[in-house]
Symmetry: C2
Subunit: 103 residues, 2 copies
């Protein structure tokens, strides 16, 4: 079992692509314990970004938020966001594309 996190964030008009670029920066060095991290845009809502994540554990996820590069990305993204977020915590039971080699 892994820890999953499905979230959305709403961007201020016209800022979506900048936020996506921020979210995808640094992926050549994924955080420890990150099995899956997917960033996408909503096909029916121009200002909505979806992020789905799978981590070895919730602790790995929480630890990633304390990394300087993560904090920096969040700080840069915040002014482009409306403050409307959704998040769901999930117990991941299996799937495709979750090879531990990604972690």
């Amino acid at each position: 079992m892994y820890f999953g996190y499905n979230g959305t964030m709403r961007t201020r008009p016209g800022r979506r692509d900048e936020v996506v670029t921020l979210l995808l920066s640094g992926l050549e060095h994924p955080a420890v314990g990150c099995l899956s991290y997917v960033v996408g845009t909503d096909d029916e809502d121009a200002d909505l970004i979806h992020v789905t994540e799978v981590w070895l554990s919730e602790q790995h996820h929480d630890d990633s938020l304390t990394l300087p590069e993560t904090k920096d990305a969040i700080a840069r993204a915040m002014p482009m966001l409306t403050g409307e977020f959704t998040s769901t915590r999930i117990t991941v039971l299996g799937g495709v594309g979750l090879e531990v080699g990604n972690a």
Copy 2:
């Protein structure tokens, strides 16, 4: 860019784990074009299952639904579901765990 699909399904009370088992059956032979397929349970809602998927294209996703094994799994799951579904179509722009080797 890939095709992403985030969905939920609600199960009849007590049937969640059976449905999860069905959803995870056959994963040793993922469908063509499937980059990511994650099945999890909601940590705050005992009868809710989350499925997040990434495919090379929407056509690959649609084609997978016509496979006999997929149709069979859907037919077996249906009686255990309430009929309450959500789904969101997403344009996936990148991430971790999306190696095309999975496809």
